[in-house]
């Protein structure tokens, strides 16, 4: 059990591509536990990606139920090597990220997605979701490709906001 430091931009690790996980080693199990602990420790967080704690492996943990307004979700999930294989619709929301603490930004993402991934037991699963949970998975999967929400903000003057509260 370990709460890790969440890296903040401009830390270079956040801009790198994370590697696939090929087997469920003790190290991978430990990373999953650390991600979970770190996410729970940050009171308002609903998801975290391994690069955010300095590990360039394709692992994310999410829990959309931590957003009280998100009615339909799959609760806590570990996703290893997640891949969005289908998407439809668009939705714009204002995103905040633990790794970019000073800003929030308007980002347009797919409204509904189908994700293929491995769970914490390295069992392959396919999952369909929409709304907040779909936005959450896209945001965290972006972290595995060195993408931050600020890379997705369209360069309009009204799309990036200084955070008013911390």
């Amino acid at each position: 059990m370990a709460v890790r430091e969440v890296l903040k931009y401009p830390n270079d690790i956040l801009k790198q591509y994370a590697a696939d996980v090929t087997e469920l080693t003790d190290e991978v199990k430990q990373i999953i536990q650390d991600l979970k602990d770190t996410m729970l420790d940050a009171g308002h967080s609903t998801g975290i990606a391994a690069p955010q704690i300095g590990i360039l492996k394709r692992i994310i943990t999410i829990d959309a139920s931590r957003n009280k307004k998100c009615k339909e979700n799959h609760g806590f999930m570990v996703m290893i090597n997640p891949e969005i294989i289908e998407h439809s619709g668009t939705v714009t929301s204002r995103e905040g990220c633990m790794s970019v603490p000073d800003f929030t930004g308007n980002v347009t993402r797919a409204e509904r997605i189908v994700v293929s991934c491995f769970d914490e037991n390295m069992q392959q699963t396919v999952l369909e979701t929409s709304g907040f949970e779909a936005v959450l998975i896209q945001h965290e999967t972006d972290h595995l490709n060195g993408m931050l929400f600020i890379d997705r903000v369209i360069s309009k003057r009204t799309d990036l906001f200084k955070r008013k509260k911390y």
Binding site: H44, S45, T46, G47, N67, S93, R94, E95, G96, C97, T104, F132, V135, L136, H139, E140, F149, R157, T158, K162, K164, K165
Partner: protein, 174 residues
Amino acid sequence: MDTHYYALSFVNTDCKGIVADTTKVLFDNGFNLADSSSTLLQGVFSMIFIVTNNKDYKEQEIKDMFKNVRSHMEVFKFDKKPEAKEGCHYSISVYGADKAGIVHTITKEIAKNNLNIIDLQTKITGGSPKVYIMMLEVVSDNENNENIWQEALKKTAKEINTQINMKKIEFYEL
């Protein structure tokens, strides 16, 4: 050391190199850029900078620094750090056939309902008849009475023959 806050605004019809010239003066005089917004409005380039400096300048002293930059400028000095309003954010768009008083009528109703406008943009389409479009972002203390003010705004928009859309801005902590 104290931090002093200043708002500087510039307007200019000749915009080539104006941002570089203006920010050079800021940089040379030790100002830090805290926030800025610049845009071209009908061929007039408008810039607003919120800057900080450890030095306590008079407004005229700052104006003098820019005497070689070809702009109309104003300086506003703050006594303390200007704070943004907290609360629930909503985006509002209003559009209709262009006629006088749309902005005033809508914003008067917004003020009456204790909402704060934090962003406002208006555009007029080029076609005939011309269409007026207004986009706003407003902040409310809370979401308790959103039905009441949204109904009031709908009624006001209808009275002046405009369409209005209001949407709460979803804020996601990811």
